[in-house]
């Protein structure tokens, strides 16, 4: 009896599985045939509309994150028909989760998988060029992107030039001075402890101390904020200009320095040490340094490093855990010069394995053609997920995340704020770069191919010995000399010299007189 029962159970399971399998394949067929029919309709309408290109080509975009039903629906049913009609292309998205995005990108490009367009961080452009992961775009841009050039100026495009060739398009164009130098803190707690402004590191310390007394259940700062603190303690603007944190460029002295030998670094380290000694810092600021944003979003921490607009980016998550939270960003050392240090943080590239590079460029051109296209790509058709009210976007569902990532395609000419952004912020935003100076090294890309091994050695020393010092976790006076000795042995001087050499070449080639 038992045997028959288990046999029956197994048979039922098998049948249901096969049905499930069949269902899967069927659905797959249906979805692919529906996209095919969309394509056919699109090409039909293309021919009917008599656009110059009679056929529709596909553009494969490698995209970080997870595919959602909403996005899939948007791409297939709303975006692609329009793209087919207006630009003769249709988009196929290839999603890879954040954790694996860079590894997968590397493997796929190495194996010549067809990808027409992908995103990466602008600081990595030089190493991507060395790894032959992006092809020159000068001609492609000239032929396919007349509209894009109207909203992305030459100065911005210069950020994607390596050795005189345009290898990528820096796609995030927005006011960005003082990048990473702001401190985004809990304004509601600042008010509660009776402080009104934060201008110096000591102000921060006072804030943390008072917050600890009044709110013992909070966990203090989320981040050791070494970049804002560097701004606070340095006499001139230090702009990081190589890989990792090791080399800075002094904007006034016009030279490259080893960051870890500067006086500013020593001050930062000692300040952080004093914070640990006063019991204001949590261990995790050192042991889990990279998770500072997630700590901040837990709602139990006081401040985190940020750039313009940080408070808007994380407020929803913070409020999810601390409903009364108010965030505001402060600039330490506010009277010192503000510098624009980079052409945004994002770059879009076309690999050599692309089969439709022109199509990829056409896609970008389409997005940047006018504000309507831009908002369509980011939020969908007007009236569906949002309405435009007084020049602001009013989301119908506040949980709506948008379609294409706003931070990836951000363009100051087209940006429209949502209704939950305060007017104050918009005023700040619009005048943010007004008195800012442009860094000398804004378009400089350090080529590390001559000093790869030294760089790796130095990064190991920095990771193991300097990070704890920088975070203030270990005693500065006992550990710093030893660490510095190891750093020298790793070849930091040679590395800095190489940076300086490339800087001199860069300045000479671009007509700077120093």
């Amino acid at each position: 009896m038992k045997k028959k029962l288990s046999l029956l159970l197994a048979a039922t399971m098998l049948v249901s599985c096969l049905a499930g399998c069949g269902g899967t394949t069927e659905t797959a067929n249906t979805s692919s045939s529906s996209s095919e029919s969309t394509a056919t309709t699109a090409s039909d309408s293309t021919e009917a509309a008599a656009t110059p290109s009679g056929e529709v080509s596909t553009v494969v975009i490698l995209y970080p994150g997870e595919e959602t039903d909403a996005m899939a629906n948007f791409i297939n049913n709303q975006l692609n028909p329009r793209l087919a009609e207006e630009a003769g292309i249709q988009v196929e998205m290839l999603y890879k989760g954040w954790d694996q995005y860079w590894d997968q990108k590397g493997v796929m490009l190495a194996a010549n998988q067809r990808i027409d367009l992908y995103w990466d961080g602008l600081p990595d452009l030089s190493s991507m060029v060395n790894a032959s992961q992006c092809q020159p775009l000068d001609d492609l841009i000239k032929e396919n992107c007349p509209d894009m050039l109207k909203v992305i100026p030459e100065s911005q495009l210069a950020g994607g030039v390596v050795n005189g060739v345009q290898y990528g398009i820096p796609s995030a164009y927005a006011p960005s001075s003082c990048m990473f130098q702001l401190v985004c803190l809990r304004q509601d707690i600042l008010d509660a402890v009776g402080m009104t402004d934060v201008k110096t590191a000591d102000d921060l310390k006072e804030y943390a101390t008072k917050a600890k007394e009044q709110f013992p259940e909070l966990k203090g700062p989320a981040d050791i904020i070494f970049k804002p603190l560097t701004r606070n303690f340095a006499d001139e603007q230090y702009t990081w200009c190589a890989y990792g944190d090791s080399v800075v460029y002094g904007e006034e002295t016009k030279k490259a320095y080893d960051y870890f030998e500067t006086d500013a670094f020593k001050e930062v380290a000692k300040f952080n040490q004093s914070m640990y000694e006063a019991g204001l810092y949590n261990d995790e600021l050192t042991t889990n340094y990279n998770e500072r944003d997630s700590r901040m979003q837990q709602g139990t921490y006081l401040w985190v490093e940020g750039s313009l607009g940080k408070e808007n980016e994380i407020i929803t998550s913070v409020r999810g855990n601390a409903p009364d939270a108010v965030l505001k960003s402060y600039l330490l050392n506010p009277t010192a010069d503000k510098y624009i240090t980079a052409c945004g943080g994002e770059v879009l590239c076309v690999p050599y394995s692309a089969e439709n590079p022109a199509g990829a460029m056409k896609f970008l051109n389409w997005i940047y053609k006018n504000q309507e296209n831009y908002l369509f790509a980011l939020y969908g058709p007007e009236g569906e997920n949002y309405d435009v009210v007084d020049g602001r976007i009013q989301l119908k569902d506040p949980a709506f995340e948008g379609y294409f990532y706003e931070w990836m395609f951000r363009n100051a000419n087209y940006t429209m704020f949502t209704t939950d952004i305060s007017d104050d912020f918009i005023k700040t935003y619009e005048s943010w770069d007004d008195n800012a100076k442009t860094s000398d090294v804004i378009a400089f890309h350090f080529d590390n191919s001559n000093v790869l091994e030294i760089e790796t050695d130095c990064n190991e020393v920095i990771k193991q010995e300097f990070t704890p010092i920088e975070c203030g976790y270990v005693d500065f006076d006992t550990n710093y000399p030893v660490a510095l000795e190891h750093l020298k042995a790793a070849g930091i001087d040679e590395y800095v010299a190489e940076v300086q050499r490339q800087l001199d070449e860069f300045f000479a080639a671009n007509g700077y007189n120093h």
């Binding site: 797959a28 039903d69 493997v107 995030a172 994380i314 943080g345």
Partner: protein, 300 residues
């Protein structure tokens, strides 16, 4: 089987006592974290981040599971179906391929068995790395977006093969000899003598393959882009992948702030969803192991 009376404080008693103690201790050491996982998955996330994990749910809520099922909709069910199919088909295929070679290599009379074993073992030690393997799989074997890509690359596990071979080794070869004298082919011996004698072994290795297929997300990561073909583990892995990405520090800050971090409770709920079906199925399979051990050596 005779139930021997254990004399108090004899050597037998200490052995028994130690055995009970160890098993109980380990079971608790394994069960307690599991209970924690379960309880966190039913807790309120804010409480968990404030007070840490505990064995009792804090601010009991089913929000996490609701969120997961709403967020994934019917996709989770589809990925269950994909995984179940792949597991069944893959396990059957793997068992056939593996047991054949294990049986063959267990025959002492096979002259080149050690050489073949060497060829197999070599592949555990040497691998060319990700890129050549990926290149060959996608460009030559066209495994991208195919169910074959979820099964074929891992269909034969050398480790399982060697394991099964040791089980086959335990069968007295004289049984084969007598069957050969009666004119049976090796295939027949394999099917009618070797396999029935090693039922528990078959189950063990079968279970391992099945679990391997069930838990696999690597093949999906490499080959599957079409969401309809996502197996369960890859689907869930994607939910958790944001966590790893952020801690590695590679995500640029523009994006990092926008990544929806799965909360602690989501991490745990995802784990429970993975384990769920196994918890239901395992007691059925388990009886073979428990019975086999209880009665000593069971030869069926």
């Amino acid at each position: 089987m005779n139930r021997r009376k254990t004399k108090p404080f004899s050597a037998d008693f200490w052995v028994k006592a130690f055995a009970y103690f160890l098993i109980a201790f380990l079971a608790i050491a394994c069960l307690y974290p599991l209970i924690m996982v379960l309880s966190v998955s039913f807790s309120d996330n804010t409480a968990v981040t404030k007070y840490g994990y505990s064995a009792i749910p804090q601010d009991f809520s089913t929000d996490t599971y609701l969120y997961l099922f709403v967020h994934s909709g019917t996709r989770i069910l589809r990925s269950y179906a994909v995984t179940i199919c792949i597991t069944i088909i893959g396990t059957i295929l793997s068992m056939i391929i593996t047991s054949m070679i294990s049986f063959a290599l267990s025959i002492r009379a096979l002259k080149y068995r050690n050489q073949i074993a060497y060829i197999c073992n070599f592949t555990i030690i040497f691998s060319a790395g990700l890129i050549p393997w990926y290149y060959v799989c996608t460009n030559w074997y066209h495994l991208t977006d195919s169910y074959a890509g979820l099964i074929l690359p891992t269909v034969f596990s050398v480790w399982s093969m060697f394991l099964m071979r040791t089980y086959f080794d335990a069968v007295p070869q004289s049984l084969y000899e007598s069957a050969k004298i009666d004119g049976a082919s090796y295939m027949k011996i394999y099917v009618s003598i070797a396999i029935p004698l090693c039922k528990t072994a078959m189950l063990t290795v079968g279970l391992m393959y099945a679990l391997g297929y069930w838990n696999d997300w690597w093949n999906a990561l490499m080959f599957i882009n079409d969401r309809d073909k996502f197996p369960l583990q890859y689907f869930l892995y994607n939910i958790l992948s944001n966590v790893n990405a952020i801690s590695s520090g590679r995500v640029p800050s523009g994006a990092a702030a926008n990544i929806k971090l799965p909360s602690e409770t989501v991490k745990m709920a995802v784990t429970m969803i993975t384990i769920g079906p196994i918890i239901f199925l395992y007691p059925f399979i388990q009886k073979y192991f428990v019975d086999g051990i209880m009665t000593g050596a069971v030869k069926e």
